[in-house]
């Protein structure tokens, strides 16, 4: 784990960095868990609602599948990979603030059964590349 200007980056995760996506992806037993990264949640402020898709919905790499909302902002949620939603984090209904409090843990948003994992992962940043990118993002946000 690396902290850059106060933003946490987990090097074993993959990051979708197109536009202002700020989406992380974690490969778990062939499935992909995803949520908003620490920088993304910080920009949002306190999350009040997460609009998730339904289990069984198809998602596409770099396409929106839902939104998260705070009082001052609405953020589209982009899928880091193509595939099918197999689980959504129902805890966020009662505690959307988990996205702020534990963005890489209990604040996860969806679990996806990927359809084109290897190709999609090549488009995501990982390890040192992710750290370097976050450094640039943090610099821009100053």
């Amino acid at each position: 784990m690396v902290e850059i200007e106060g933003y946490l980056v987990l090097e074993d995760l993959y990051y979708l960095t197109t536009e202002d996506a700020h989406i992380w992806a974690k490969v778990e037993d062939g499935k992909v868990r995803s949520g908003v990264d620490d920088f993304g949640q910080r920009q949002m402020g306190e999350v009040v609602y997460v609009e998730s898709p339904s289990v069984g919905d198809k998602v596409e790499y770099n396409k929106g599948y839902g939104t998260i909302e705070s009082g001052k902002a609405t953020k589209d949620l982009y899928s880091p990979v193509s595939g099918t939603i197999t689980e959504i984090n129902s805890k966020l209904d009662d505690e959307p603030k988990l996205v702020n409090d534990d963005p890489y843990g209990e604040g996860w948003i969806v679990l996806i059964e990927p359809s084109n994992l290897d190709a999609d992962l090549k488009n995501l940043l990982h390890g040192d590349a992710a750290v370097k990118w976050m450094r640039e993002e943090a610099e821009k946000a100053k």
Binding site: D20, E46, Y49, E69, S70, G71, K72, A73, D76
Partner: protein
């Protein structure tokens, strides 16, 4: 010669139809078995809102320090709170009686029963009977709280909403069965008074007919206030009745005990002892009287309105139906339009909706955009310290017309009418967006929603 009209029941359906018929020249007899104003005025809308306003003051005083005001000890006087409620109710009853007099309506106290299609027998207090004939009859006998056999309503611990309005002490704990509008409003009355509440709802969400987002946020707010909300849960049976407690067994195996249980699982029509068979008036299997769009039953000259016909069981719907019935009786062609009916739930924060919500748009395959704004982003809501909730507009993607809207937040029940008018008049989100709304008001958020439907709300940061 004047047309003679009898109205059975003086709730918001019956009394409104009686006045409209009288205004249009009828000689009207209005029969009421209990108190003028029916459920709404006496044991429904008005007393609950009166109590809610008492507890709202209490909640505000408890938060006073947040607003820079120091207060000493605060005590609740439940006796005076209930007395105030009865004064408000009695005052409105008196106003109704004055309205009846000024419209020359004959107001009779007693039980009304049809004895043939043009005659009603009134059994007055003391047993005296009077038969009245009319050219037309409007049945507006309303509904009562539904009771289910697993509960013994003779036990002092088992309450309907009516019983809860006459409590002499604040219960230490209460189970509320049914998290619909009535259950949620009573939770909103007793939670601030200190009652420990557990709500049990068999449907997967609170307020099963409302927008999912509202239900989810309300559950979150209730949880935060210490109200335990069990959705997707049933009461299987009662394990124990005691003098001052009741223990219920849930379908998940858990047993819960409380001082009282409030059964708020809906209402049933008052149609069984009013002589429908004698007049050959048909009902459906559940006892709701069948009517056409002019509110006429299968029997010519007999109309029915309000809760006794089922459908949307709200006071303002009954009143609208009452006007339609009276106008048809008096020779005007009038039809009931259920397209734009605002519905309001007086929780804290309030909830209001009109037209369709996003899920209903999806069910009907209507391509819509939802313009939404959270009150956290409203400067007026910040100034008031009431930032919970949001407004959303459901907008037709092709025509840009507003098809519905939902509001959760302070004054939602007043704010909804701008959206109701928009839906009724076919106004577009463009038109609302280009209408100047005063600053700083909560209504500005409606304009922000309209703008947001086109992705250009001013006070919203768009990210990602």
């Amino acid at each position: 010669m004047k047309k003679k009209v009898i109205v059975m029941g003086s709730g918001p359906g019956g009394y409104v139809s009686a006045i409209r018929a009288a205004q249009m020249g009828a000689e009207v007899a209005l029969i009421e078995k209990d108190r003028a104003g029916g459920t709404c005025n006496n044991i429904g809308c008005i007393p609950t809102k009166t109590l809610l306003n008492s507890v709202e003051i209490l909640s505000k005083i408890k938060k006073a320090e947040d607003y820079g005001i120091e207060v000493g000890d605060v005590n609740v006087n439940i006796t005076e709170m209930m007395a105030r409620k009865e004064r408000v109710v009695a005052g409105l009853q008196k106003s109704l009686n004055n309205l009846f007099k000024s419209n020359k309506i004959r107001f009779l106290k007693g039980k009304a029963r049809l004895i043939d299609p043009t005659t009603v027998e009134v059994e007055k207090e003391g047993g005296e009977k009077e038969s009245i004939s009319a050219d037309d009859i409007i049945i507006a006998t309303g509904s009562d709280p539904a009771k289910i056999p697993i509960f013994d309503f003779d036990q002092p611990t088992v309450m309907t909403s009516t019983d809860a309005l006459y409590l002499k002490e604040v219960p230490r704990s209460m189970i509320i069965l049914g998290a619909g509008a009535i259950g949620c409003e009573f939770a909103g009355i007793f939670n601030p008074l200190g009652t420990k509440i557990t709500m049990v709802e068999m449907m997967p969400q609170m307020l099963p007919t409302e927008d999912r987002r509202i239900a989810i946020q309300l559950k979150r707010i209730f949880n935060r206030r210490g109200i335990r909300v069990l959705t997707g849960t049933k009461i299987e049976g009662i394990s124990r009745y005691e003098q001052d407690s009741i223990t219920a067994k849930l379908d998940n195996g858990e047993e819960i005990t409380a001082e009282k249980i409030l059964v708020s699982i809906g209402r049933k029509p008052n149609s069984s002892q009013i002589g429908l068979d004698e007049a050959s008036v048909k009902t459906d299997k559940r006892g709701y009287i069948k009517v056409n769009e002019t509110m006429e039953t299968n029997v010519e000259g007999i109309y029915a309105i309000g809760d006794v016909i089922g459908g949307v069981m709200l006071a303002h719907v009954a009143s609208a139906e009452g006007i339609v019935a009276a106008e048809n009786i008096m020779g005007n062609e009038s039809k009931m339009d259920y397209g734009v009916i605002p519905s309001c739930i007086f929780t804290s924060p309030e909830i209001a909706s009109v037209g369709i919500n996003p899920a209903q748009a999806k069910e009907r395959n209507i391509d819509t955009i939802v313009g939404r704004f959270n009150f956290l982003g409203s400067s007026k809501a910040q100034a008031m310290g009431e930032t919970e909730g949001f407004i959303q507009l459901v907008v037709d993607k092709n025509s840009d017309k507003i098809l519905g809207g939902q509001i959760m937040g302070a004054h939602a029940t007043d704010l909804i009418h701008e959206i109701a008018l928009a839906v009724k008049a076919g106004i577009t989100s463009e038109e609302i967006g280009s209408t100047v709304h005063a600053h700083p008001t909560l209504s500005e958020a409606i304009r922000e929603c309209a703008e947001n439907a086109h992705g250009r709300a001013i006070h919203l940061i768009k990210m990602g």
